[in-house]
């Protein structure tokens, strides 16, 4: 580690913090704009004016929005996410389990899709223009072009309903052993891997091909290096930055973007939690979920940046 890297990292972290602040601000006030008074919704038919006023007061809703924003921000910083309006439980408790589920799913999907995407992307780049490359391209274009819910529903139809190989639902309840775990995650993981890997394959292929056009790759070729060596030793290390960036973008989708998959497989993740929260106008929960998505996105981007910095000897050794 040297000073330059330290400075770069510090700068990225600073940028991330600023982005987070902007996001926090946007999230808080955007949710404030949601129509429908929380107190009124909570009380439902029993909403007499006094009851509403009382509830608003007890929830500090009578205070100015900016003051509440500061409270909320203060809470966030001290790790206090507040209490859910809907059931008065700690938001942190509500989210904890769901987030764990989402992270599990994201993790398994990543484990599954990243190697596949890398392999396909790199090999497609290696054999650019070949039938294999064209097949991979057709595959990725098709996957990118087909709506996710189609993929998911078809997967259920085939694997769960007709073949009965896999469960249609992914309720991570009583998991016994790895086999069971794999079975339970199989459907959403297959669907998500499809969706996520297509983009990664394309980006990996493009990045590798970009580096394949460089003079040092030609040089390696003229040294008599095999295609394999050229790609793995020369092109890939230099394509790492953009590849990692593409992966970060794809993977960020795995937390917040999976609402459709969560719906179809009835998977209890954060995305569904947030949709629930929206319909009950559970602001603390919405805000916390939104912050989680943003933090995860920014973290992934940060990691990608750092990997790119680390992979670049220009920055690594000055």
């Amino acid at each position: 580690m040297n000073a330059l890297i330290a400075r770069l990292v510090a700068k990225r972290l600073g940028i991330m913090l600023i982005s987070l602040l902007v996001v926090a601000f946007a999230v808080f006030f955007a949710t404030e704009l949601l129509p429908g008074d929380v107190a009124q919704i909570l009380l439902g038919q029993a909403a007499t004016p006094e009851a509403v006023a009382g509830l608003r007061k007890s929830m500090h809703l009578d205070q100015p929005a900016f003051l509440r924003f500061l409270y909320w921000l203060g809470g966030l910083l001290t790790g206090d996410l507040g209490r859910s309006y809907a059931n008065n439980r700690e938001v942190a408790d509500l989210i904890a389990g769901r987030l764990a589920n989402s992270l599990e799913l994201a993790f398994v999907t990543t484990l599954f899709s990243v190697p596949i995407a890398l392999t396909l992307g790199i090999t497609a780049a290696m054999f650019r223009g070949s039938t294999y490359d064209r097949l991979v391209l057709v595959f990725t274009v098709s996957v990118i072009s087909i709506p996710e819910f189609m993929v998911a529903t078809l997967a259920v139809m085939i694997f769960a309903v007709y073949l009965k190989w896999l469960p249609a639902l992914s309720v991570a309840s009583d998991v016994e052993g790895l086999g069971e775990l794999l079975r339970i995650y199989a459907m959403p993981v297959i669907t998500l891997s499809f969706v996520v890997s297509a983009q990664m394959i394309r980006m990996t292929r493009a990045a590798v091909i970009d580096t394949l056009d460089t003079a040092y790759v030609e040089m390696a070729l003229l040294k008599g290096a095999s295609r394999r060596r050229i790609v793995l030793r020369h092109a890939l290390p230099n394509a790492l930055g953009p590849i990692v960036n593409a992966m970060a973008l794809s993977l960020s989708y795995l937390l917040g973007g999976v609402i459709i998959v969560e719906t179809i497989f009835n998977y209890p993740g954060v995305a569904k939690l947030m949709v629930d929260a929206v319909s009950t106008r559970d602001l603390p929960l919405i805000q916390s979920c939104a912050m989680i998505f943003c933090v995860s996105y920014l973290l992934l981007i940060l990691i990608a940046d750092l990997v790119a910095i680390m992979a670049n000897p220009r920055l690594r050794n000055q």
Binding site: V156, A160, V171, T263, I264, K272, V278
Partner: protein
């Protein structure tokens, strides 16, 4: 987004029931009538299809199932007072007991109450069953009952039936098993009120609802709001033999095709609330049976009579001729419905007016009526939403029919989120959805009396109001029938509520699952299926 159908059922619905009952409570004749005849609530429930066969079989003990409702959220609760979704009711029914139970056919059966007696319908004497214990081993006493009922009156609890509980003016403990409930005014419907899901009995002093300590057939093992709940058999359950299942898990799958897929793949044994258009999918599939309940549930098109264009003579009548009930029944509901005649009393009710025909689809007549009203050719907005069942499809049927006679309707689908508070009862032409009500009196006082809280079409008729009171006070069954018949005619002809069909509820279940019956309180056997079903192999 399908929460709203449920929220609709409860939040709004409980309040409706409560209002209606409160309004009717002072009528001594009504309560006399009820007590005398022993006939309770006439909400019709029938079971058709393959599920009927289950009746004859002998229950077996053992096994466990997973059942899926259609919605769950983080607002899920184990506090019966706050229950608002089907999942809450299913859990409450499994983990707790009520004092009374509303049976198929509307009869009230005693549960935790051994006896519930009154002389004047104001002071009720409640005797508890002797041998009931909570899951933690504590014996059920009147203290628990008083605590359970009393807490609904505390605004801090946030009970959904707070207003209804307010009429229980005081509770008096006589001894551990006997107590008195004094109402603020006589109400013969107390046994029915106590059968509502919210009036589950919890142990005295319970404030923590992270798990459930009830007297019910199952003990709560897992409770993850918005995710799942698991109950295991209560070995000390006070009912003999029940429950048959060793354990059950309840989840919610909001996506209907996913629910069916899960049933077909064998992941779940029961999928509640099946869409009619999924019937073809389930038809002829081995190992799946359907439980259909045709009750008084309907989605109606409401034309406000106090606003343009509903205030123009002939418009409403035109709409009644323009709505193609047959198409709605066949195409939208795939025959899982019965054609209705624009009034709320269901054909299963003994007061149903069989002489009152449903209006035939007659676009020409509608056209001339619109012409008479002077609205033909005007673009008229119809507010619809996914919140009331099938309302969007019904709206397009009306729209299409209108187009053919040169009557353009502008169908506006609004978000189901907030539909009930923002559009229902408010828009000039909109859709509503009404769940079954026990008696014509409740239905009429709730929906059609001049001062009815949910007078969907803002119908006002002094004559109707008078007849309503008269029927309530009448002990003469024939006369009541006659009055109700005429009231049905009036509503059908004059009110702006167009009720095209009665909608059936269909639950799909694995054919191994036996013992499902209909219940007036809703699908899944009034949410209490867990206690009564068994697995057959």
């Amino acid at each position: 987004m399908s929460h709203d159908t449920v929220t609709n059922w409860t939040g709004r619905d409980d309040a409706m029931v409560e209002h209606a009952i409160r309004r009717g409570a002072t009528r001594r004749d009504l309560l006399r009538l009820l007590m005398a005849s022993g006939i309770g609530l006439a909400a019709g429930g029938t079971i058709i299809g393959r599920a009927t066969r289950a009746f004859a079989e002998t229950p077996k003990s053992g096994g466990s199932i997973t059942a899926a409702g259609w919605s769950a959220s983080t607002a899920d609760t184990l506090d019966p007072a706050k229950g608002s979704l089907s999942t809450d009711y299913v859990r409450a029914c499994a983990f707790y007991n009520r004092l009374t139970f509303l049976e198929e056919g509307g009869d009230v059966r005693m549960e935790l109450a051994d006896k519930l007696e009154t002389q004047d319908a104001k002071t009720w004497t409640l005797t508890l069953r002797p041998d009931v214990t909570f899951h933690d081993g504590k014996t059920l006493t009147t203290d628990d009952v008083i605590y359970s009922l009393q807490r609904h009156k505390d605004p801090a609890v946030g009970s959904k039936v707070n207003a209804m509980a307010k009429q229980m003016e005081s509770f008096k403990k006589v001894d551990d098993k006997v107590m008195e409930i004094v109402l603020s005014a006589p109400n013969a419907d107390l046994p029915i009120i106590l059968a509502l899901h919210h009036f589950m009995i919890i142990a005295d002093g319970t404030t923590d609802f992270s798990t459930a300590n009830g007297t019910g057939a199952f003990k709560c093992e897992v409770f993850e709001p918005g995710v799942r709940s698991v109950g295991v058999k209560n070995e000390n359950y006070w009912k003999d033999q029940l429950p048959y299942l060793d354990s059950f898990e309840f989840i919610a799958i909001s996506d209907e095709p996913a629910r069916i897929n899960a049933l077909l793949s064998g992941d779940i044994a029961l999928a509640a609330a099946i869409n009619p258009r999924s019937m073809r999918r389930l038809d002829g599939v081995d190992g799946v049976s359907l439980s259909q309940t045709t009750s008084g549930n309907y989605t109606d098109l409401n034309v406000r009579l106090d606003m343009d264009p509903g205030d123009k003579a002939g418009f409403v009548e035109g709409m009644k001729y323009l709505i193609n009930r047959e198409v709605i029944k066949r195409s939208i509901l795939r025959d899982l419905a019965v054609v209705a005649n624009d009034q709320p009393i269901s054909p299963n009710d003994k007061y149903y007016n069989k002489e009152l025909p449903a209006k035939e689809y007659d676009p020409d007549k509608a056209k001339s009526l619109f012409e008479k009203a002077g609205v033909l050719g005007q673009t008229i907005p119809i507010i619809t939403s996914d919140a009331p069942n099938s309302a969007v499809d019904m709206a397009t049927v009306v729209q299409q029919a209108g187009q053919e006679i040169g009557m353009p309707f502008d169908v506006q689908r609004v978000p189901s989120d907030g539909y009930w508070s923002n559009y229902w009862l408010k828009a000039p032409i909109h859709f509503g959805n009404i769940n079954p009500r026990p008696t014509p009196d409740i239905l009429f006082s709730l929906l059609y009396a001049s001062d009815a809280p949910w007078n969907e079409s803002h119908y006002k008729s002094e004559k109707f109001d008078k007849m309503l009171v008269e029927a309530r006070g009448s002990l003469d069954e024939a006369k009541r029938k006659a009055i109700y018949d005429e009231m049905q005619v009036m509503v059908s002809e004059e009110a702006g509520t167009i009720i095209p069909v009665w909608i059936s509820n269909v639950d799909a279940l694995s054919s191994k699952l036996k013992g499902m019956r209909a219940n007036p309180l809703g699908g899944m056997m009034g949410y209490a299926f867990a206690e009564y079903v068994w697995l057959d192999d």
